[in-house]
Symmetry: C2
C-alpha cells in the first residue's frame, strides 16, 4: 500500500470526508501508540489472529536473544487500543465517551491481492459507564449514512439485525446456546456454498438438526426488508416470540423510529436477519453496509452493540456500540470498480515563468494568491511555455497563469483552464477572487 501523489490525494480526501462526518456527530479524536503489550494482544486476538501479530524489538533487545516472546507488538485493530485507552484514562474521560480513531493497523499476513499487512481503519464507538442507552444504537447508522452520502460512491444500504432476536429465535427452535454460534456460521455460508451443501452439514453428525428446523432457519436467515414500512411489517410478521426475542424486536423498532426522526432517508436502511457478525462479541444491534450496485464488495462498514469493552483492563462495566471502516481495502476495491479515480492535484494554480526578469513578479503574485487561500506552485526557472503547460497537465493542476509582455502591459493575466481547455484573461487584482470562485464551483459540481 504505497500510492503515487494523485492517488494519495484521492485517498486523503476520503479520510478527510470520513473524519468530517464523524466530527459532525460529535465524535472526538483519539490516536494511540502503535505498540501494545504482546500479552494483551495475544489474549484478545484468539488463535486465528495470533499468527498475524507483528512483534517488535529494538536492537538491544534483539541482541539479548531471549527466548521470551518480545514484550511489544503492533496493534492489529483499534478495539484493543480503545479498551486500554478507556480503562487507562477512565477518570479523565466524560461518559458516554464518543471517540473516533483513524489509524493504520498491522497484520502479519502474506501479502496477496486484497490483503494488506498495513491498512487504515476508521472507527467510531460510543462507550457508556455501567450503561448506555439503546438510543445510541440508532445514531450510529445515521453517522454511517452521512459518511457514505458524502463519499458519493453510489447508493448503499445499512442492514440491521439484532443478536437478541437471533438468539431468541434459536432458543425457540431448541438450538442450545453453545451451538448457535456454529449454526449461524454455517448459515452465513448460504450464499457461498448454496442451500444443499449447508443443509448437508446441518443434518450431518456435528449438528444433527431436523430438516424442518433447517427450513425454518434458512427462511429466517433470508428475511430482508427495504424501506421503513417494509421493515416494520417484516418485524411484525415474525410472529410471537420469547422475552429475549421480543426485547430484540423492540430495540430494533426503536432504532427504526429514531432513524426516521433524524430524517435518514428510508432507502438507506433495511432489515437483514442473516447478519450475525462476531458472535462472541456483539450482544445487541448489529450493522453491515453494502453498495447496492456492487454486492460483490461485501460489507464496507460493520459493527454493533457490545456488553463490555474492557473487562480485561478494568472492573468498570463499559458497554458500547461502534462501527469500523477498513478504508485501505475499500479504496482499492472502489478503484477496481471504477468508483474512485485519480484525483486532480491538490495544487490549484501553476504560475508560469516566461522570462528570467519576471521572477520577482511571479513570486509576489504567487504569494498573493496563497494569501487568498489558493494552493500555488511557482515555476522558478523560465523554459518554453509548452513545457510548463505539459507539466501542469501531467501533474493534474487545473489553472496555469501566463503573463507575457503583452499581458503585463495591460495589467492582466491569461488563465489557462486545463480541465476545460479554455483560456481567458483576468485583471491582476481580480485574479484571486476569480480563481477561488471557479474552484468552489467545481467543488459543488462534484
Amino acid at each position: 500500500m504505497e500510492l503515487l501523489p494523485r492517488d494519495q490525494i484521492a485517498f486523503g480526501r476520503m479520510l478527510d470526508t470520513i473524519r468530517s462526518a464523524f466530527e459532525r456527530f460529535g465524535f472526538l479524536p483519539v490516536q494511540t501508540p502503535v505498540f501494545e503489550l504482546s500479552d494483551v494482544l495475544l489474549t484478545k486476538s484468539g488463535g486465528e489472529t495470533e499468527r498475524q501479530v507483528y512483534f517488535v524489538q529494538s536492537t538491544g533487545a534483539l541482541e539479548k536473544a531471549a527466548d521470551d516472546r518480545p514484550e511489544l507488538a503492533l496493534r492489529f485493530d483499534l478495539t484493543v487500543p480503545l479498551a486500554r485507552y478507556v480503562a487507562e484514562h477512565e477518570h479523565d474521560l466524560v461518559f458516554p465517551f464518543r471517540r473516533y480513531q483513524m489509524q493504520r493497523v498491522y497484520r502479519g499476513e502474506r501479502a496477496q491481492r486484497g490483503r494488506f499487512r498495513e491498512f487504515y481503519q476508521c472507527d467510531i464507538d460510543v462507550i457508556g459507564k455501567d450503561e448506555l442507552s439503546p438510543r445510541f444504537d440508532a445514531e450510529i447508522p445515521a453517522v454511517i449514512a452521512a459518511v457514505f452520502d458524502r463519499l458519493a460512491i453510489g447508493e448503499f444500504t445499512i442492514w440491521l439485525n439484532h443478536r437478541k432476536l437471533l438468539r431468541g429465535y434459536f432458543d425457540q427452535l431448541g438450538i442450545e446456546d453453545d451451538q448457535q454460534f456454529l449454526v449461524l456460521r454455517e448459515l452465513d455460508k448460504l450464499d457461498k456454498r448454496g442451500r444443499d451443501a449447508v443443509r448437508a452439514t446441518l443434518t450431518g453428525e456435528a449438528f444433527g438438526l431436523q430438516s424442518a428446523v433447517i427450513d425454518q432457519m434458512m427462511a429466517f436467515a433470508q428475511v430482508r426488508s427495504r424501506g421503513h414500512q417494509d421493515a416494520l411489517d417484516t418485524l411484525a410478521g415474525l410472529g410471537q416470540g420469547g422475552a429475549l426475542f421480543e426485547q430484540g424486536r423492540d430495540e430494533l423498532l426503536a432504532v427504526l423510529q429514531q432513524l426516521r426522526a433524524m430524517g435518514v432517508p428510508e432507502s438507506r436502511y433495511g432489515i437483514n436477519l442473516s447478519i450475525a457478525r462476531g458472535l462472541d462479541y456483539y450482544t445487541g444491534v448489529v450493522y453491515e453496509t453494502t453498495l447496492d450496485a456492487h454486492p460483490q464488495i461485501g460489507s464496507i462498514c460493520s459493527g454493533g452493540r457490545y456488553e463490555n469493552l474492557a473487562g480485561y483492563y478494568t472492573k468498570s462495566k463499559l458497554p458500547g456500540v461502534g462501527i469500523s471502516i477498513g478504508l485501505t481495502r475499500l479504496f482499492f476495491q472502489l478503484r477496481e470498480a471504477g468508483l474512485v479515480s485519480t484525483a486532480d492535484s491538490s495544487v490549484d494554480v501553476l504560475v508560469t515563468l516566461l522570462e528570467e526578469t519576471d521572477l520577482d513578479h511571479a513570486l509576489a503574485l504567487s504569494q498573493r494568491l496563497r494569501a487568498a487561500g489558493l494552493n500555488v506552485e511557482t515555476q522558478l526557472e523560465s523554459r518554453k511555455l509548452v513545457k510548463q503547460l505539459q507539466y501542469a497537465d501531467r501533474a493534474g493542476i487545473r489553472f496555469a497563469l501566463i503573463r507575457g509582455a503583452d499581458e503585463a502591459a495591460r495589467d492582466v493575466v491569461a488563465v489557462k483552464d486545463l480541465r476545460r481547455g479554455e483560456q481567458y484573461e483576468v485583471s491582476e487584482h481580480e485574479l484571486a477572487a476569480s480563481l477561488l470562485v471557479e474552484r468552489e464551483q467545481s467543488k459543488v459540481m462534484g
Copy 2:
C-alpha cells in the same frame, strides 16, 4: 505520547495547519508503509542510530527463531523512506518533485522526558533530477515562515547559513577537509561548554590548532545578523574568499533577494554562521528556526540542501532541499512553555434534552445544524439541565441549546454561550446561520 481528546484536538489542529501551509506552496502528499528493509535502514543510520532501530517479525518468523537479523524494521525518519520512494517511482513522478510527508517515526530509545519512542515528523523536500535550481533554497524558508505564522506560537527567526561558505572559510584557515567536520562539532559546543573548554580541546593534541586561528573561527561562528540590510552587510563584511566561499556567499545573497521578492517579513530571517547541521549530508544552504522568546527550546524546524538523495537506490543523481519539523517534541515543549493550551472541543453545539417527548425534535434539530456545517452532539437521554450544562462545560463545548415548553411555544431556542457566559434567544430558522457566524468570528479572533 497518548493524549486526552482535547489535547488531541489541539495537536490535530497543529497538524492541519502545517499540512495546509505545505499545500499552499504546492507540495504533494506522500505516505509510506511503516516497514522498511532492515539492511537499508542500518546502512543509512550509522552507529548511533543503529541501536535505535525497531525490528519487526510476525509470529511465524519469530518461531523459526533464526539467528539472522529480522528482515523488516520500523522507519526511524522520513528521509530513508523518501529516498526509496523516489527511486522506486522515479518514472512515475514529475521532477522537480515536491512532496510533504507527515507520519510517525520510531526510535528504540529508553522512554524519558523529551524523548519519544514514537513521534510525528512533518517534512517537505523538493527533489530534482540531475539538478535543482538554487531558487528552491529560497522557497523553503518562505514555507517555514508561513507554517509558523499560522501556528501563531510567537515571534520566530529562520537562521540561514551555507556549507560552502563554511568550507571555503575553513580551507582558507588551512584546516583540512576531513578535520573540518570535527572542528565544527567542537565549535557547535560553544554555548554549552563555554569558550575556554572548547579552546582547550582545539589547541589540544587531537586538533593542535593555533590560538589565533581559533580566535578567528570563534569570531566567525558567532556572526549573527537580523533583518535584510543587516544580512547583506554581514555577508559583505566577511571579506574576500576563495571560489567555494564566494559561491556560498552568492547563493546566500540570492536566497535573501528572493525572500524579499516573496514578501517574507525581514524580521523572520537572519544569518547565523554557527549553523552546521548534519555535516556529512548537507552541501549548500542550511536552516534552523528558533522561537525568539524561547531560545531554550532550540531549533524547531531544520534542514538544508543536499547533493544526492538516493545514491543507495538509483544511479540517477537526485539533489534536493528540505526541512523537518519534529511535531511531537515541539508540541510538548510548547505546552510546557504555555504556548499551546487544551483546545475547545471539536464539538460546536450540545443539543440538550429536557423532556423525553422532545427527543424527536432534538434529533431533527441536530440534523439540520449538522447539514449547515456545525459539529453537534445530541443529549439522547433527558436529565437535569444543570447536569447537561456541566457536561458541555467539562467537555469544552461552547454552545448549549435549550428548548423548554416556553421556548417551543414561541418557536425559539435559548443559546447558552458557555465561553462568554451569556444566554440569548434565536428563532429556530435563524439558529444555524447565527451559530455559524459566531463560530467563524471566534476563529478570526483567534
